[in-house]
């Protein structure tokens, strides 16, 4: 923490009163769960999101929470009972890499708010300030079973700014979507994008460093050196009082990483670069929560397991640039097999609609080379692992009693292309029901247009 929160002793509290502090959460979540009667789901094949499977299982949702999981649960009074015979139930999918809202549909220039390209290090910007809550993409993702997502700045910058974690509920405001009390995250990027945008971006704005991967590393390290100094000043001030340091929006965020409050999510394709970044994080005393895209994680899965970073991956994207050239279909199962944390992510308003199919491809491709991962374990790629990477695994990401009732009832085995999300609950409220197209959410943008939602 940058400012005083600790203490507890009276004299400490007195001392703090004199200090200048600042609000760490000036744009707080205003989301609260929508009402719903208790729901009892019965006769389902349940994947609990942490690796367990229950056949003919029951799940009880009450007061927005998972209240019980097992078999032969009793329906409380007033509960809606859903017979899920032949259907599957899982925790809602958590996509930890989305640009919905910051690169919304329609992709018009006026709404391209995801990259603050004005400098290679823009830790001072927050993606939530660029999110357009009327992006129709949120509603399409809902139909794909997405209940929470991380919206990141783009990868133009070395350090792109803060990400925001939201519940996938339609809202008039970003604050109305924000996942209550979720940690902040920081987006960083390796490789080709920063050096292309700045170094040789056709001579366009702004030019300059970095021109190379050498410049990329120098750019991060310079920023961390400044952040270390800033943190030192604040730590000293908090300990000793006196004149408060001048506040710096950029360094607030970077120091938040060094304090362990803000989680680093880093776009990084190549194995050798991820290895450099892991060393750099040790140099400055922080940890990478997850590498993103991580197309070459399979080459260093052992090192990633040892370090303890997640890899957020596609099932099969490859070849669109050099750092994606060595993509293979078995990346995800190979990372899983090495004991490292594997996550299926989208980075796409199309892919986010069917992350279950992406997991299914990876799961199947693993089996075909002898990596036989049970489906219930593979579902961790979509639930508890992304939740961990976002620091929200104590509240969502699995069907443990007491957690948020973020639940999907699938029409069948979600590892099949033919399976659809039948019902999606967020905090116990039924937010999507495939059987009632008339109840589909429609964004302001789509109202009065020739298509109102996906199914008009």
């Amino acid at each position: 923490m940058l400012s005083a929160c600790g203490g507890g002793k009276d004299e400490a509290a007195e001392k703090k009163e004199a200090e200048i502090t600042f609000d760490k959460n000036p744009y707080p979540s205003t989301y609260s769960p929508y009402p719903n009667a208790p729901v009892l789901i019965t006769n389902a094949t349940i994947l609990d999101g942490e690796g367990a499977r229950i056949e003919n299982g029951s799940l009880l949702l009450e007061d927005g929470k998972i209240s019980a999981i097992g078999s032969d649960l009793e329906a409380p009074e007033g509960a809606m009972t859903i017979d899920a015979s032949g259907r599957w139930v899982t925790p809602g999918i958590i996509d930890n890499h989305s640009h919905l809202g910051v690169y919304p549909s329609p992709g018009v220039s006026a709404h391209g708010d995801g990259n603050e390209i004005s400098a290679p290090v823009t830790a001072e910007v927050w993606s939530e300030h660029g999110v357009w809550p009327q992006d129709p993409g949120f509603t399409r993702a809902l139909a794909g079973g997405i209940t929470s997502l991380q919206i990141l700045p783009g990868s133009a910058n070395l350090i792109g700014g803060r990400g925001v974690i939201v519940k996938n509920v339609p809202s008039r405001t970003v604050q109305g979507m924000k996942f209550p009390n979720a940690p902040y995250t920081l987006k960083m990027a390796c490789g080709e994008n920063p050096k292309r945008v700045y170094g040789y971006g056709g001579g366009r704005f702004p030019g300059g460093a970095p021109y190379s991967r050498m410049g990329n590393m120098a750019g991060y390290r310079s920023a961390w050196i400044r952040a270390t100094e800033y943190k030192r000043k604040w730590d000293k001030y908090e300990k000793e009082g006196g004149e408060p340091p001048a506040r710096d929006l950029e360094l607030d965020t970077l120091a938040g990483v060094l304090n362990g409050d803000i989680l680093v999510h880093m776009h990084c394709y190549r194995a050798d670069e991820m290895a450099q970044i892991m060393d750099m994080s040790k140099e400055f005393g922080y940890k990478v929560a997850s590498f993103h895209h991580a197309v070459e994680s399979y080459k260093i899965a052992d090192k990633l397991a040892e370090y303890g970073a997640c890899s957020s991956m596609w099932a099969d994207w490859w070849g669109f640039k050099m750092e994606a050239y060595d993509g293979i279909r078995e990346n995800i199962p190979l990372v899983h097999k090495a004991g490292a944390c594997a996550i299926v992510h989208s980075d796409s308003d199309v892919g986010i609609q069917r992350l279950n199919q992406e997991a299914a491809k990876a799961w199947s491709d693993g089996r075909k080379i002898g990596i036989d991962i049970p489906e219930e374990e593979a579902w961790t790629w979509l639930s508890i692992n992304p939740a961990k990477s976002l620091g929200i695994d104590d509240r969502t990401g699995s069907l443990k009693p007491g957690k948020m009732a973020d639940v999907v009832i699938w029409s069948g085995d979600p590892f099949s292309v033919y399976t659809k999300a039948d019902q999606v609950f967020i905090d116990g409220a039924l937010m999507y029901d495939r059987s009632t197209p008339e109840s589909d959410p429609v964004t302001d943008f789509e109202i009065g247009q020739p298509g109102e939602g996906d199914r008009k």
Binding site: F320, D326, E446
Partner: protein
């Protein structure tokens, strides 16, 4: 350059009888023919040399000594109805990307086949997912005309036979407007002028090398299409843009069109059906991702089917390295209401018809032997081919990706670095 059969066919029953190496008996629990035979349970397909010679039930007599393949499903080789596969090695590296010519002085005469590279790693990657033919469309550079598209197989042979100049690629809608001065009116004026130049070639060019819209060589290249002797592939989405194409088709009824994209095609489906204009759709495209796609829906394909419009399914959104996803996309179309047989036809029979690929796209006696044997339902994301046969030749199921995978299956460098590991 025949691929190693041993590696291609390692995964299933294989009687080693070299005497009849080019005769195959392929047995499938489900054999999807794409013909009036429908799907044959426990069916058999016989291949002799480059042709299918028999398709029938399990009791059908088969040649002695043939190579036997058994699989869950057997289908015609899939056709990617819209691709840049073979033109692009690494999308972002311009020297390896021949999909478009942003600064060329030519337009319609650009012959994409000149850039086809059978060694492109994407070809193997696409083939081993069951695609045996690629319809390759050039992209637009600095005009609305991308140039001449072609059809290739996915053998990766250096002497891969190409059907060159199979169609002319044109962009209308927002892209076409942007490339012709800024409006749809400008795009349509340019297209009509170009058609006029093409139709009057060479007379108009005797005195002058410039037409109204086209240089001499471009007019020459456009003259077959302008005379109704070549297909015109038009990229367009908005219902009014599709209507503009159909207005043109009615004004000049000899012109032959296929729409690519067509996110709002369902809104004008009866007219498309009446004018017999087929559409290549991307069933993933369900977002209002631009103002010309406000009515995009994941039910586009199923609505076209209900109206009787001929359509193929392709990965229009990502068609160089990921053309292979067309089968997943077709599966999603089924999940959104399309009949399974129509979905599979949209990857086989229909693209063969659209592009006049006579003898491809079906399993029928006399047809060319492009055949895929699968370990499951071909539209299912967990399925993959166990054998891919192109014109009667069994193909390798290896790609650069599978080689990389095999290298890194075990991260053991205790004896030597990974570079010495070449499985």
């Amino acid at each position: 350059m025949r691929k190693s059969l041993a590696t291609a066919l390692a995964a299933f029953t294989w009687l080693t009888t070299p005497a009849l190496a080019d005769t195959y008996v392929i047995r499938g629990e489900s054999v999807w023919t794409g013909t009036s035979q429908g799907t044959i349970k426990n069916g058999v397909v016989v291949i002799e040399d480059d042709r299918i010679t028999a398709v029938g039930g399990a009791s059908m007599a088969v040649p002695d000594g043939a190579s036997e393949i058994s699989a869950k499903w057997v289908t015609p080789g899939l056709i990617s109805a819209y691709s840049q596969t073979g033109l692009v090695e690494v999308g972002a590296e311009d020297p390896t990307n021949d999909a478009l010519a942003a600064a060329s002085v030519y337009s319609i005469s650009l012959n994409a086949a000149d850039g086809f590279n059978p060694d492109s790693t994407a070809i193997d990657v696409t083939r081993i997912e069951g695609f045996t033919r690629l319809v390759v469309a050039p992209q637009t550079g600095n005009t609305m005309f991308g140039g001449q598209g072609f059809i290739a197989d996915t053998s990766g042979d250096l002497d891969t036979p190409l059907t060159e100049k199979a169609f002319t690629f044109i962009a209308l809608g927002e892209a076409g407007a942007g490339l012709t001065g800024g409006s749809r009116a400008s795009a349509m004026a340019t297209l009509k002028a170009a058609l006029d130049d093409g139709r009057t070639y060479p007379a108009r060019y005797i005195a002058n090398s410039e037409g109204d819209a086209l240089k001499r060589l471009d007019a020459q290249a456009f003259s077959p299409a302008a005379r109704g002797q070549q297909l015109i592939m038009v990229q367009a989405h908005r219902a009014s843009d599709l209507n503009a194409v159909m207005d043109l088709a009615e004004e000049q009824p000899n012109l032959k069109f296929v729409i690519v994209g067509g996110d709002e095609a369902w809104r004008v489906a009866p007219r498309l059906a009446k004018l017999d204009i087929p559409v290549i759709v991307d069933a993933f495209s369900n977002l209002p991702s631009s103002f010309e796609r406000l009515a995009a829906t994941s039910e586009n394909a199923s609505r076209l089917a209900e109206t009787g419009v001929a359509f193929a399914i392709a990965n229009v959104g990502d068609s160089a390295q990921q053309a292979r996803l067309a089968s997943q996309i077709a599966g999603n179309a089924v999940a959104n209401g399309l009949d399974f047989d129509e979905a599979l036809a949209a990857l086989t029979v229909v693209p063969a018809e659209i592009f006049n690929m006579t003898g491809y796209g079906t399993l029928a006696p006399g047809a060319h032997a492009d055949v895929v044997a699968w370990d499951g339902d071909p539209l299912e994301v967990t399925s993959s081919p166990v054998a891919v046969i192109i014109d009667g030749e069994a193909q390798s199921l290896q790609s650069r990706q599978t080689r990389l995978r095999d290298r890194y299956l075990n991260l053991d460098e205790s004896e030597r670095p990974m570079a010495y590991h070449k499985p």
